[in-house]
Every structure is written in structure tokens, then in C-alpha cells.
Amino acid sequence: MDVWSSLLGGFATALTPENLLYALLGVLLGTAVGVLPGLGPAMTIALLLPVTFALPAENAFIMFAGIYYGGMYGGSTTSILLNTPGESSSVVTAIEGHKMAKAGRASQALATAAIGSFIAGTIGTVLLVVLAPLVVKFAVSLGNPSYFAIMVLSLLAVTAVLGSSRLRGFCALGLGLAIGLIGADQISGQRRLTFGQPLLVDGIDVVVVAVAIFAVGEALWVAAHLRRTAAHVIPVGQPWMGKEDWKRSWKPWLRGTAFGFPFGALPAGGAEIPTFLSYVTEKRLSKHPEEFGHGAIEGVAGPEAANNASAAGTLVPMLSLGLPTNATAAVMLAAFTQYGIQPGPLLFDREPQLVWALIASLFIGNTLLLLVNLPLAPAWARLLQIPRPYLYAGIVFFATLGAYSVNLQAFDLGILLVLGLLGFMMRRFGLPILPLILGVILGPRLEKQLRTSLQLSDGHISGLWSEPVAVVVYVIVAVVLVWPLLARLLRRTPVGAAIENEHEKVDAR
């Protein structure tokens, strides 16, 4: 088949010694930032963007793929050994994982998390290989109005479905879209929101925005909230699993994958919902329900598989439609743009070598991660002993260097600080970061689709729903918007109530 020969071609690119080295580097970096709470793959890729300009696109993306998957692995280590999730997607892992570690079964918890992540990641990546070309085939037939509709859906869904407060989500989205508007209008050349400042005419570089919001904002937040803590990591030897553990893990792994992949592939899936669903399902299906709450291995295996499968799923809309649904995918999309590569359904046609090398490197990265994490998980936990002032000083240093090097303008440093303060205020007031980043990155593309659609229909607004796909998508948008009402109705049913209760339990943690 065509797809498989392309994939083999991708492996040929990704398996050169140079690219393997970049994959290894990405995997190590990804695991490190995954282990450290507060740092994530999105921030890391944003910080690396200016550095990687000097590299060919393939090398950079192979490294990014490693960081992306690595973050998912690292997060579980911290969850299990410290009871502090390293990443938002491993919040659920901490529930049973830390209990297991306390009961002296940390090795088994780490092993089931790493092996489950590997299996889910591999299955997820195979599904990506199969699905992405199909989605592309469908997507190339779409016109501008349908694209516009799908983008609106994905922005709304990310804003309204994820996070605890819709109002805060929409505030963040509005801020992002406003930042995306800054600069000269692409069609008329009119200046928008530049305040007479000629340096703003080209708009604010996405790299500067991402670095400011992720890195500077987080550093300021940590500096303002540095609590003196000295927790203990639970000591653990080599991760391993007994026969009984394998028997109890393999079904949750597969079920977790089945939850994670579709949620990741949908616009606005994210990894939090499927990990949670997986946990609830395992609890219900388990033959050892009495162990839940005291360290049940199923409660680690399922969610860990779910979050990696969702990471793979996220790449389907990212590569085939140019639609990111989580922060890391959004920053990777920005990276495509920096390399002058137009993301969208034509990506597979125009840049086959890059795309297939990226996909092949996901398989390679996943395997490397298993090799790096299974024997070394306890060593990674030692990273938590780094004093945070040193860590964040380094991050701010790299952020400043990166922001300056994009355009070699001191003006960008001012913007970095202003947006960094914005990032700090957003954390202070509980505004989610993801809608803002998506707004900045998708905003200009959304506008372009809207303008083209309106030009095609001669300025008639009805042109926006002239395609059947667009109509269907707008119906889904309507459903997303009235979802709170539906949820209220659902809550009255016993199943809905059970889910709600579990949610509250997790929130209360």
C-alpha cells in the first residue's frame, strides 16, 4: 500500500544516525520537563523554536516529536512517586499510583505506566498512520466556508469543553484573538492595534507570545508563590511487573487506548477527559474493586495508556487539517509556520518527507522512551531535587535569548515582559492558557478563511453556510454551546450523578 511505503520512507529518513541523535535528545528533554511539575512539552518546544531555526526542519520536528511523547512518560513518574502530577494528563494516575507506591508497589506502578504508555503510543501512532491520509482525502474536498466552520468549532470546543469556567475560557480566547489581530491587515494593508508603533506592523511573533505566556508567566508565578517544601520521593528500585500484574494490566491498557485516541483526535479532546473516563471504567470493571483507593494497578494502567493514545490522536487533526487541539500541538503548528510550511490538508502532498519522517520518529521515540524510562525512572525523579530558583533562572534566560534572537529587536524583549505579566495575571485569575495560544495561532488563519469565504460569496453572509459540511459543523457548535443545559439534565440520571461525584472527588484533591 502507498501509505506503508511512505512510512518506510519516513523510517529511512528518521533512522539516520543524526536524526536518531535528535530523537534521543528530544526524548531525554521531554522526559525531564515531564517529570518537573509546571514545565511541559509546550513550553520546551516554544523555548527551543528560536534555537532550532538553524536546523533543517526534519531534525527539529523529530526532536519535537520526542519531547511531545516524552512529556507524557515523565509526568507519570512524578505522579506515582511524589503524588504531584508532573503534567495535567497524569492527574488521575496519581490517585492510584501514589497509593501503590506507598504500599511498596512503586516498581509495578512505574512499569505498568511505562509499558502501557508504550503500547498505547504505538497503537495510537498506527491509527494515526491509517487515519490521517483518510482525513486528508476528505479534507481536500472542503471549501473555505467549511474550514472556517471547523476552526470555529475547534476554538469553541477547546474553550467551552475544557477547563472549569467557560467565562474564563472565553476571556482567554478573546485575549488570544486580539493579540493575533495586531499588525497590518493581510488584504487591505490597514494597520490594526499598532498604536502608531511601526515595529508592531508585522504583528507579534508567535514565538515571542508562546515563550512569554508559557515560560515568563510560569517563572513569575513560581517566583510569587515559592513555598518552602521538602517532600520525599518514595524510594524505588528497578521497575518490574509480576505475572499477576501483566494479567491485570493488559486489558486496561487496551481500553485506555480506545478512550484516549478518539478524544485526542476530536477537536477539543485533550487528555484529561479520557484519562478520567478510563479510571472510572476500570473501577467499574475491576475484579478487585476493593483495591481502588488503596492502589489498584488497573487505575494506573488505564489512564496512562489513555493519555498517550490521546497524544497520538491529537496529531491526526494537527497534521491532516492543521488544527491543534492541545498546547503542544499548537506550538508545533507555529513551528511549521516558522519554517514557511503551510499547515493544512496539503501538508502530506507538499512535504511528504517531513511528515512521514515525523510519524516514523514517533514510533522510534516511543521505543526509546520505553528503554530510557523503564530502567531509569528512579533516576529521573532525582531531577526534582534541583532548586527551583536555579531552574527558573535558566528558563528566563533562555526565554529572553530566544525572544531576542527571533528578530534581533530589543523591542521584542519589552513585548516579552508585557506578555509575561499577562501570563502571570492569567494564572493569578485562573484563566486557561490553551485558548489564548490557540487564539493567537488560529486567529489569523480563521480570519483568512472568513475573508476568502465572503469574497467568494460576494460579501453575502449566507456564503458561510453554503456547504453541507459547514452546516453540520454549525449544528455541532450549537450543541457545544447548549451543552451546560444538557449536562444539567444528565446530572439527574444516576450515571451522570456518579460521574459528577467522581469529578468532585478529583477536584477536591
Partner: protein, 127 residues
């Protein structure tokens, strides 16, 4: 007057504590055990937790003692020296360990600071 010991839950720390207990008994004076952390990293394995603290108290049963267990953002050496000053130490006990060349580059030496700056004799023990 008192005997002050810098304690960490490692082999070096335990050895130091053993010697300090013996010294305090021989001198018939009070033993002050110092265990602190700067608290700026998420994890500090050398700062004893509740369980270890209880075990420590149990071990020191029968010796007149005081445990200084605090997180005040200061270096271990500063804490030990401050406690030695405050409790008019006649002896400070610390544990020594070997450091690799890289370790010497990365980490400061608590032991060296205590040895050079202590107001009284210092007993340095090796496991």
C-alpha cells in the same frame, strides 16, 4: 553548654549522630540535633519527615536533647553555625563524605564552612 550535631538521614549522618550521642553522654551535657532544608526544591530527601522524626526522637530517648527541625531558606552550614552560637556549643559534630570532582564543582561544602567558621572545636567523623 551543649553538643551540636548536623543530622541527615544518610550513613554519614547516622555516624555523626552516634558519635554526638556518645560525646554528649561523656560530657554530661545537652545534645542539639540540627536537621534543616532550604526548601526551594520540590524534593529534599535529607530533610526528615514525620516518621523519621519520630524514630529520631525514640533513638534519643534517655539523652537530654533538642531537635531543631526547620525550613527557613538558609544553607545547612548557616543553620548549624547559628544553632552552635545560640546554644553555646562546646563541640560541633558533622559527618564527612567523599565527593567526586564533578560533585565538588556542583555542590558547595557544608562541612568546610562549618570547620572554618565554627566558634568551637569540630568533630568530623566518617562512616
Amino acid at each position: 553548654m551543649s553538643v551540636v550535631v548536623g543530622y541527615v538521614p544518610t550513613r554519614e549522618g547516622e555516624t555523626a549522630l552516634d558519635h554526638a550521642v556518645a560525646e554528649a553522654r561523656a560530657r554530661k551535657t545537652r545534645l542539639v540535633v540540627v536537621n534543616t532544608s532550604r526548601g526551594d526544591a520540590l524534593v529534599d530527601q535529607r530533610y526528615v519527615d514525620e516518621e523519621q522524626l519520630a524514630a529520631l526522637e525514640e533513638r534519643l530517648d534517655g539523652v537530654e536533647h533538642l531537635v531543631v527541625h526547620a525550613m527557613r531558606g538558609r544553607e545547612a552550614s548557616e543553620e548549624i553555625l547559628a544553632v552552635a552560637q545560640e546554644h553555646r556549643a562546646e563541640l560541633v559534630v558533622i559527618g564527612l563524605r567523599r565527593r567526586s570532582p564533578v560533585g565538588k564543582l556542583l555542590m558547595g561544602s557544608t562541612a568546610q564552612r562549618v570547620l572554618l567558621d565554627a566558634p568551637c572545636p569540630v568533630l568530623a567523623v566518617k562512616p
